[in-house]
């Protein structure tokens, strides 16, 4: 029966390996995950990896070297379905927060000097959809266990995953939390994709935005609200940019145009 199992590859590009670790952290379900599907590639857990055709590739991390870009293009060729797995793959992660290439080059220089690397060429971090077509986006920093398991299950049966398309605020209301914006805290809940179960507001901590931006976020409105509450423009912008990668660039750009 093994030939009927769905072939899955789990790949790690540049990031904190948190999304792959989360799979390992699915302790109770781990054996089921490994038996329900053919896990062809999963370097974190397995020393016996193969490189053939795949039904599903889960790709974690952003593209940060030229070699990773080639690896990614190869994965796309071999995989029927590619899932951007976690914030770094979806939007580029915190390392994509340098919006301008010049900024990135300057900062690379500040960290590494004029040092020459022999093994790989560094590249500015980008989400994987900058290079390949992505079929599904599983957000999170790291991805959530429940959302991963339900997505994994649906992919095993050849169904598309059902992901939330609304902001964290909805989950927060489900839990009947007090709104932290009403308490004058810099909460990014309205702009951030749901799925985390509003974990930070549940702990009286404002949302940092680590699941990346939600599609129809009203950034302009949140921006003005935070300005009214007396937050510094630079601080608001920096918060919005931390986990939004390249996505936020368009907003800042459109915003600038609107101002003119």
């Amino acid at each position: 029966m093994t030939q009927d199992k769905v072939k899955i590859g789990i790949y790690e590009l540049t990031g904190c390996a948190g999304d792959a670790l989360l799979i390992v952290d699915c302790e109770e379900e781990l054996v089921n995950i490994f038996t329900a599907a053919d896990i062809e590639v999963f370097l974190m857990a397995n020393s016996d990896s193969r490189h053939g055709e795949l039904d599903v590739a889960l790709v974690e991390g952003s593209v940060s070297t030229e070699k990773e870009k080639e690896e990614l293009l190869d994965i796309r060729k071999r995989a029927k379905t590619v899932v951007a797995f976690g914030n770094c793959a979806c939007v580029g992660g915190i390392q994509a927060a340098f919006l301008d290439r010049k900024d990135w080059e300057k900062n690379l220089k500040e960290v590494y000097g004029s040092h020459k690397f022999s093994h790989l060429q560094p590249a500015q971090s980008q989400p994987i959809d900058a290079f390949i077509q992505v079929d599904f986006y599983l957000p999170g920093c790291p991805v959530g266990k429940d959302q991963f398991l339900s997505t994994f299950n649906r992919l095993l049966r050849g169904n598309p995953p059902e992901l939330f398309r609304f902001p964290v605020c909805v989950e927060c209301k489900w839990r009947e939390n007090d709104c932290l914006l009403n308490k004058d805290l810099l909460c990014l809940g309205p702009l951030t994709l749901a799925g985390c179960g509003s974990v930070c507001p549940n702990h009286n901590i404002p949302c940092f935005g680590c699941w990346g931006p939600t599609e129809e976020a009203n950034r302009t409105s949140e921006y003005h609200l935070l300005l009214e509450k007396g937050f510094d423009i630079a601080v608001i912008k920096s918060r919005m940019a931390n986990y939004s990668g390249a996505r936020i660039a368009e907003f800042f750009e459109s915003f600038r145009k609107e101002k003119r």
Partner: protein
């Protein structure tokens, strides 16, 4: 010529690998290559508020996210002068124990053990060790539950903030943690017996310096305000740079560290070697039962040390819970007493000393320095791989090199998101020295002939240097000509190439070109002169020094150069004539 290769280094967290190059019967090079792309975290965190950096900085690494969280919090609170209530410190330590239990049990059972019992992974291992695989998973899950309970999530929880916690766990939750920890004790003892009793191969063995946090009060512990070394030296929190001395190598995005010019090790083995005598209770009993002199020299004992620390953590959890429950009030967030300042946070991550340093000006972060355990271990990982590879090669066990290097790297439990895929053994072509010599040409190398004239092949270095002078090669010295220190100093910044007869167990006349530092590890010198000369070199000069070595046939008092060595000298001179001698200008 043959190549042995592992394309990806599996079962380590992150993306990287090890390359070894074999040149005849000498391992000429070992490189720990980090393929993980550069993320520039130390720059991303600049210009943000301290609160944001507490969220962003731990994203360096998922598996040590709690250690990073505690390090950034300790640093920020030192910088901003925040008086942290006892209950907060105790809860943070409990959360840290969660990470140690989770990370160590994942590493020893799921990443390391399959190698020692002959399985490709833990799931396959389950057929022979069903009980261990099942309970280890429950133990790991327990560590994760503790982290989730206190930090908000298993990975990257945001509940710990500057000055305290957003929400405190309830009494019931804490009591559950204590009771659950006690239930695991029989299995914890079994873990210690299993990993302390494993048959660790005796190769590699070598001395090194171990470093970890000094927890103070003569206790074993996982953070502190000082660094303590196995030499007995102590380094204050803010002077951490005198330990780490970061530098870059071309084959990695991960910065390296050396202490006084030498590699050092951090991690569970470092802690047990430096602080082991301070263990108490059952952990002390187990330490006395299993600790022996091999622990000080063989990095494979990292696995045994981690097992011992699992026991330490399980004994500490009930103590901590009791202390926390004795403080029923949940303190409000402690506030900062200043807006500018700088501070360092030292903690022990499961894989070793972790350092965060921040400078804050008017409420915004202006400078960041983060030094991870794997970055500090990188040099020793390379060195121990080298020692293992060379010893196995000498013993005619070349086929074991790749697997042994794999064991060594994994024993260090490298968390390479802090930066990993590749372990490879390559055979170098026999005229590799030509390429290496040519690579130095632009930098203007200085040649120094070393040896003794009347001891047959030992005179090779001096003979070659004299002939090079005659040939018109620039900057060639004989050993006697650089007696004065100022001559060496005057050559700073340029590569130094020592020419010497060195015993590398090769056919007589074999030529090799090696970095000087690798020669130290191998101790293949035919005499003591070269080390005494190079002891006078400044640290950065040593890094830029090489040995052009020739395998002697015999070294006897009063003898002449042997035929193979004479042929080798001719080969080198021929190569120099083509590349190091400026063309003769026609007389005008």
């Amino acid at each position: 010529m043959k190549t042995i290769s592992i394309d990806h280094l599996p079962r380590v967290e992150g993306n990287g690998g090890v390359f070894a190059t074999i040149d005849g019967r000498v391992v000429s090079e070992v490189k720990l290559v980090i393929n993980e792309g550069p993320r520039l975290i130390e720059r991303l965190t600049v210009g943000k508020t301290p609160e944001e950096d507490v969220s962003i900085a731990p994203r360096i690494c998922a598996i040590c996210s709690v250690s990073h969280k505690n390090a950034v919090l300790r640093a920020m609170e030192n910088a901003l002068d925040v008086g942290v209530p006892d209950k907060v410190t105790l809860l943070r330590e409990l959360m840290h124990m969660g990470e140690f239990i989770e990370s160590h049990s994942l590493h020893v059972y799921y990443l390391a053990l399959p190698d020692y019992v002959g399985f490709p992974n833990a799931i396959a291992m389950a057929s022979k060790f069903p009980f261990e695989v099942k309970i280890a998973l429950e133990m790991k899950q327990f560590g994760n539950t503790m982290m989730k309970l206190i930090s908000g999530r298993m990975i990257h929880g945001e509940n710990p903030v500057i000055g305290g916690f957003g929400r405190y766990p309830t009494r019931e939750e804490l009591v559950w943690v204590k009771n659950r920890a006690v239930q695991f004790m029989p299995f914890v003892f079994r873990t210690v017996e299993l990993f302390c009793g494993l048959d660790y191969p005796p190769v590699p063995e070598a001395d090194t310096v171990y470093a970890c946090c000094e927890p103070g009060d003569g206790r074993y512990g996982l953070w502190g305000d000082e660094i303590i070394l196995s030499t007995g030296e102590k380094i204050a929190r803010d002077d951490y740079k005198s330990l780490t001395n970061e530098f870059l190598v071309p084959h990695s995005f991960c910065k390296r560290s050396r202490y006084k010019g030498n590699p050092y090790s951090v991690g569970a083995l470092a802690r047990v070697n430096v602080l082991g005598e301070r263990l108490q209770g059952e952990a002390a009993r187990m330490y006395k039962k299993h600790y022996n002199s091999s622990w000080k020299k063989n990095p494979l004992y990292h696995n045994a040390a981690q097992a011992l620390e699992i026991l330490y953590s399980f004994e500490r959890v009930p103590e901590l819970v009791d202390q926390i429950l004795a403080i029923p009030e949940n303190p409000p967030l402690a506030s900062s007493r200043r807006k500018s300042g700088q501070g360092t946070g030292l903690v022990e991550a499961p894989r070793g000393l972790l350092i965060h340093h921040y400078e804050i000006k008017n409420g915004l972060v202006s400078g960041v320095d983060i030094i991870t355990p794997t970055a500090q271990n990188a040099e020793d990982i390379e060195r121990y791989c080298y020692i293992a590879a060379q010893k196995l090669l000498d013993d005619g066990q070349e086929n074991k090199i790749r697997d042994r290097m794999d064991l060594v790297v994994r024993a260090f439990d490298p968390c390479i998101s802090c930066s990993v895929h590749m372990a490879e053994v390559k055979r170098a072509p026999s005229d590799r020295w030509k390429k290496e010599l040519a690579a130095l040409r632009e930098a203007g190398p200085v040649f120094v002939g070393v040896g003794q004239k009347d001891r047959s092949d030992d005179g090779a270095g001096l003979e070659l240097a004299s002939r090079m002078k005659e040939l018109g090669v620039k900057d060639v010295y004989l050993e006697a000509e650089i007696e004065e220190d100022h001559i060496l100093e005057g050559l700073a910044g340029r590569p130094l190439v020592f020419i010497d007869a060195i015993n590398i167990n090769e056919r007589p006349g074999k030529i090799v070109m090696l970095p000087l530092q690798q020669l130290f590890w191998n101790a293949v010198l035919s005499h003591r002169l070269l080390p005494s000369l190079t002891n006078r070199l400044a640290c950065d000069q040593v890094k830029n020094a090489y040995v052009l070595g020739i395998q002697p046939e015999s070294i006897v008092e009063g003898g002449q150069l042997s035929k193979p060595v004479r042929l080798a000298l001719r080969k080198i001179l021929k190569d120099m004539r083509g590349s190091f001698v400026p063309p003769v200008k026609p007389k005008s």
